[in-house]
């Protein structure tokens, strides 16, 4: 790519940001698709766990695995150490399984996808060609595609409704399907790796997920294969009072490479919805995984009513030498965010990177960060966290860097910047650092600053209105992280930054 085109694209991004600010009212994804849903009864117990397993057509070993998790979960208590304040969650007052009724008669046949569901994808911005594929239009795979190819697995409430570009991926030997399909079709892989990074007993929310996860995505990249396209999952919570418990498992065999995108939206409701996902990534020798998330779930309204409670466990295991993981997240949504995408650097010379933008506006609360567990020799990790707080929001970075005795000559660099907009919000940084050998090095830098009136005035004196000015300054603050995102996501993320800070000044 030449310097010129590169520049032009970047210039275009900003114009879109500005348009996005001007065109959008409140929460952009605050619509609700009226599709008939099939629900399991409210609450969770062994029967519900069995029902979910049965609905997914799972083998007995899977049902047993879920039940084991459930039995453990009832003995556990919800963790309270995060800097988060929310009313007690009644776990028996949630639906644990919901799926669009149109899927029931001919499940998993793409021809039967409800047109309203496709309209949903359109609103989510899933490219037309992939919509055609999702709709099962004949010859859609051969239609000219718009721009770069991205394979999409869409999870609508609890059920995965179709994976695009399956054939093309299959040619490369890549498996990209829903986890329920993987359990049926590739049990040997699922048995071997499920729970091997985030064990059933890991934490309260992960254990609940292990018992009741309804669907999610499965990715397998064979040895030496560079995945021919980016893989993408759209999660969306549509039905009222349903928790969404998706489970993602990614396996990158030796020398393989994959970039995975996760985008999330949820309609606007004044009742809080629960979300507890688990993402497990296994990375073998010389393999590389890049996992990017743009999360813009409904954050609650300006008075703090409603919104998603997001309790997520994401972890990558760099199991062998020179394995590499890069997490990039843009967290703009949810009323409550509890999320620490982590890296286990087990293999010698393995590397973990974590780039994060967390924006909390109005009454949002975010407690997010990462864990870098250095177990192997010469392992390297890098953390760049940008937290932005506005309104009455509280934003906490919580991170652990741990150098184990065997992890000699390892290095970590952490940079943790907080930006405050207004004087009623808060930013907190809670770093935990453990170093158990003499040859490793850990660096931590942290800054806190306010959006500067001089900067805003300078922008406005050049013709930008106040919201454009804030968006520009904040996007500048986040630049290092935005640059780590794939291009399509970077544009979306820039626009999101602008949208989520609407009304935060003046």
């Amino acid at each position: 790519m030449t310097g010129t085109t590169d520049l032009e694209v970047r210039e275009g991004v900003d114009r879109e940001t500005v348009e996005a600010v001007q065109n959008m009212g409140s929460y952009k994804y605050g619509w609700n698709t009226e599709i008939e849903m099939e629900y399991a009864p409210k609450g969770v117990n062994e029967d519900i766990v069995r029902l979910i397993s049965e609905k997914n057509g799972e083998p007995e070993w899977m049902t047993d695995w879920r039940l084991e998790a459930y039995r453990r979960w009832v003995t556990m208590t919800e963790p309270k150490w995060a800097m988060l304040n929310y009313p007690e969650i009644d776990y028996q007052d949630q639906y644990y399984y919901a799926r669009p009724k149109s899927m029931e008669e001919k499940p998993r046949s793409l021809d039967d996808v409800d047109p309203k569901l496709l309209a949903t994808y359109e609103k989510l911005g899933i490219p037309l060609k992939e919509q055609m594929i999702l709709a099962g239009v004949e010859g859609a795979e051969d239609a000219p595609s718009e721009g770069r190819k991205v394979a999409v697995d869409a999870v609508f409430d609890s059920v995965s409704v179709g994976t695009t570009f399956k054939d093309e991926l299959a040619k490369a030997g890549v498996i990209f399907c829903s986890i329920s399909e993987a359990i049926r079709e590739h049990p040997e892989l699922v048995k071997k790796y499920l729970g091997s990074v985030v064990p059933q007993s890991d934490n309260y929310f992960a254990t609940l997920n292990s018992a009741v996860f309804s669907d999610g995505s499965f990715v397998y990249i064979p040895e030496g294969v560079r995945c021919p396209m980016e893989l993408s999952t759209y999660f969306r919570i549509n039905a009222e009072n349903t928790g969404q418990f998706e489970r993602t498992l990614i396996i990158a065999e030796k020398g393989s490479h994959v970039s995975y995108l996760e985008g999330c939206t949820a309609p606007q409701r004044d009742i809080s919805q629960l979300h507890a996902a688990v993402v497990e990534i296994v990375i073998l020798e010389d393999a590389e995984v890049k996992y990017s998330t743009v999360q813009n779930w409904f954050p609650g309204d300006e008075e703090g009513k409603g919104g998603i409670y997001n309790f997520v466990t994401k972890r990558a295991d760099c199991r062998e030498a020179r394995a590499k993981i890069m997490w990039t997240q843009v967290e703009t949504g949810s009323a409550i965010t509890w999320k620490y995408p982590s890296c286990i650097l087990r293999g010698d010379d393995s590397q973990g990177e974590f780039y994060s933008i967390a924006i909390a506006n109005n009454w949002q609360q975010a407690d997010t960060g990462t864990k870098m567990i250095h177990l192997g020799k010469n392992t390297k990790s890098r953390i760049v966290s940008k937290g932005i707080s506005a309104g009455q929001a509280q934003n906490t970075y919580r991170g652990l860097v741990s150098m184990h005795p065997r992890a000699t000559n390892s290095r970590n660099y952490t940079q943790c910047d907080s930006l405050l907009i207004g004087d009623k919000c808060g930013a907190h940084t809670v770093p935990y650092i453990e170093v158990k050998n003499n040859s490793s090095r850990v660096e931590h830098e942290a800054t806190t600053s306010k959006v500067d009136d001089d900067q805003l005035f300078y922008c406005r004196s050049r013709g930008m209105d106040e919201e454009e000015a804030v968006a520009l300054v904040v996007n500048g603050f986040c630049r290092e992280v935005l640059q780590a995102l794939p291009m399509e996501f970077a544009m979306e993320a820039q626009a999101l930054v602008a949208i989520s800070l609407e009304g935060s000044v003046g």
């Binding site: 275009g12 900003d14 114009r15 500005v18 005035f457 406005r460 454009e468």
Partner: protein
């Protein structure tokens, strides 16, 4: 073009009167200079005209082309054609200079109901204008004013001025911190922009800038008012004798 009548302004926080009945008119196509000792209110005047917070207008008015300037938000003043070249240009980390410029240009065009410039159109224009001011492509990519030398910052202000084509340009001590070569570059940039329908208000301490940018009228400001106006020779008088005589004369 710019009409200021009996303007009284105080600092909001300190309840301190800074401008005390300032009257000034800059007709279209003219260059006016304002000189005056430290603390006479020159920078306050430039900030009040461009709409910065923290100042309260207690009396008087300011009009741009017959429109009440003081009622407008800063961005509306900018779209109406007012430009302030800052004495201390502000750094915006992480925002590319080019991105900043294009956002500004298109924000103004949009506000005026004009079509926005495409990336190609913008690039073509910015390259030509940057070259005239000896602004390197690298400087266009770097974050706005971050790590720029004093001279680079001021040249960058003039580049913004050239790209935004304002009708009324206020320059607040643009010569401060400039070496001889940078002063010449900046002045050439400004002179190239002189036209019958564009006016300049040049605030400066020193006559030497006015050797390069020849003013039509020179005003001497003291204690929040214009105490004397005259031709370019007034600036030479200040250069030779200082302000003392003029101030005594005014009292």
């Amino acid at each position: 073009m710019l009409k200021i009548n009996n303007l009284h302004v105080k600092l909001e926080e300190e309840d301190k009167q800074i401008l005390k009945g300032l009257t000034l008119e800059v007709p279209a196509g003219e260059v006016h200079a304002i000189m005056g000792p430290n603390g006479s209110g020159k920078s306050t005047l430039s900030y009040v005209l461009s709409g910065r917070d923290g100042y309260e207008v207690t009396d008087g008015e300011a009009e741009l082309d017959g429109e009440d300037l003081l009622d407008m938000d800063p961005e509306v003043r900018a779209a109406a054609g007012l430009f302030l070249a800052f004495q201390y240009p502000v750094e915006i980390p992480g925002v590319g200079n080019m991105t900043f410029l294009r956002t500004a240009v298109n924000a103004q065009r949009k506000a005026r109901g004009e079509a926005e410039l495409t990336a190609g159109e913008f690039l073509k224009e910015v390259r030509v204008k940057a070259a005239e001011l000896q602004i390197s492509p690298d400087m266009l990519k770097r974050p706005v004013n971050v790590g720029f030398s004093g001279g680079e910052k001021k040249r960058n202000e003039i580049l913004q001025m050239a790209m935004l084509s304002p009708r009324m340009c206020i320059m607040d001590e643009t010569d401060s911190g400039l070496d001889v070569d940078a002063m010449r570059l900046v002045s050439e940039g400004v002179n190239a922009l002189r036209s019958p329908d564009r006016s300049f208000l040049v605030i400066t301490h020193y006559q030497r800038l006015l050797d390069h940018i020849k003013p039509d009228v020179v005003h001497i400001m003291s204690n929040g008012r214009i105490i004397k106006s005259g031709g370019p020779e007034l600036a030479l008088e200040v250069e030779q004798n200082g302000y003392a005589d003029l101030l005594a004369e005014a009292d």
